[in-house]
């Protein structure tokens, strides 16, 4: 721990205090929202209007601008949850617990979006609403892992224990993620033909790539906003009898 300079240590120490973090979230959210909207507008304009039609898939490929970023985020958020879980268990940081549980519904939302948009992309392309390809199958199992986290947390009454148990679950689950990915990929190649690769574009044109990256970035900012909103709610619930919340209520009343 001596590797970390004192000033950074103090920053984390201060940020980790619930009242400071709550106020910080309030300050950050408007800025994050502004950036999100700019990125969304640019990304959507680029993706839905500027980018040309695809040679093979026509305009249906435009679902890529929400499907792929959602899928990336669904994975990214779970890994982030695992990192926060590690921090929560090792350093017993209350804020890490809160951020962990705040991330779960957001990640689940992304996973759900990836599944639905994947399905809507697949129907005109492959002719059916559901295809047991590696990616969709993987996302489905990932969704269940998210739902497991949310269910376990709500089932345990004492929220401090609940957070610690969910932290273990997230860590175990993140170990499972590459295993699922590998096993489902392998299973899929046994059962699928080459048609699956339609989703894999060998090389993507830059006019199509830029909106995709903008949307991916936009989703990251969205994640921050959503997790901060969830975190504020969770902090309020857990600390409702503490002094800083009482002060907050006085100010509001």
């Amino acid at each position: 721990m001596s590797v970390i300079p004192a000033s950074i240590g103090r920053f984390f120490h201060r940020t980790a205090s619930p009242p400071y973090f709550y106020a910080l979230a309030d300050k950050l959210i408007p800025w994050l929202t502004a950036i999100l909207l700019v990125l969304l507008v640019c990304g959507l304009y680029g993706g839905l209007y500027l980018a040309p039609s695809d040679y093979q898939q026509g305009d249906s490929y435009r679902i890529i601008y929400i499907h792929v970023p959602a899928a990336w985020m669904s994975l990214f958020v779970y890994v982030l949850m695992a990192v926060m879980a590690g921090i929560a268990l090792v350093w017993r940081m209350k804020l890490a617990e809160v951020m962990l549980i705040a991330s779960a519904p957001v990640g689940a939302g992304f996973t759900f979006i990836a599944l639905v948009t994947g399905s809507l992309w697949g129907k005109p392309m492959w002719g059916t609403w559901w295809v047991w390809d590696a990616r969709l199958t993987f996302e489905l199992i990932l969704l269940f892992q998210y739902l497991g986290v949310v269910s376990l947390y709500s089932a345990i009454e004492d929220k401090r224990s609940a957070a610690k148990e969910v932290a273990i679950l997230a860590l175990v689950g993140v170990v499972n993620v590459p295993i699922i990915h590998y096993s489902v990929e392998w299973w899929s190649t046994l059962h699928q033909g080459p048609t699956v690769t339609k989703l894999d574009k060998p090389s993507i044109h830059v006019t199509m790539l830029i909106p995709l990256l903008l949307m991916a970035l936009a989703f990251k900012f969205y994640y921050l906003i959503a997790v901060l909103q969830n975190a504020k709610l969770e902090l309020l619930k857990r600390e409702s009898s503490s002094q800083w919340v009482k002060n907050l209520l006085e100010k509001k009343a």
């Binding site: 497991g148 345990i156 699922i180 590998y182 489902v184």
Partner: protein, 222 residues
Amino acid sequence: MIAAFFAVIRRDLLLAFRRRAEMANPLFFFVLVVTLFPLAVGAQPHLLQEMAPGVIWVSALLAALLSLDGMFRSDFEDGSLEQMLLSSQPLAILVLGKIIAHWLVTGLPLLLAAPLLAMFLGLPEQAMGTLWLTLILATPLLSLIGAIGVALTVGLRRGGMILSLLVLPLYVPVLIFASSAVGRAAEGLPVSAQLNILLAMLLAAMVLVPLPTSIALKMSVN
């Protein structure tokens, strides 16, 4: 420490043996569920034969899942789990002992059903050896992986449904490799890769599972 390990196993086996009748339940369940499939999809031999590896393995999974709750439940309820947490022996060792005992009582018996189920579904002779091997390798794996889920939910009153939700995503790779191995064996294809992967998962689980399980137990009990 070794003595404590074997003591835990012996105790659990003894306790299980006192309710001998209950020991057969996972086995009966296993056979019963497999029986449902021909009833549901029709009894065409060709169809059943194709489905056999998957059906047998899904049923084995469900049997394992249903038997998981008993792993820590009775100890939790009568306070012996707390005693174990307080003991001077490393909890991970005691937990490993309990998992092994659980497997001996609920997982190992499933092997007895293998020949019967192979007959019910028309699984080719050449797949029998692989079926035995996958059962021997994967049923302890199911007990090990399941243990984490049980440890997380043992304190909950109606933990059963949540337990399934937590554990099934973790079971998916085992299911994929086990059923695929049996399926390939039925077609006469080599299965060493799948079996090796199962073995690797089993060894990894034996090493990696006890620690998070003990941590989860400590949280559940408190």
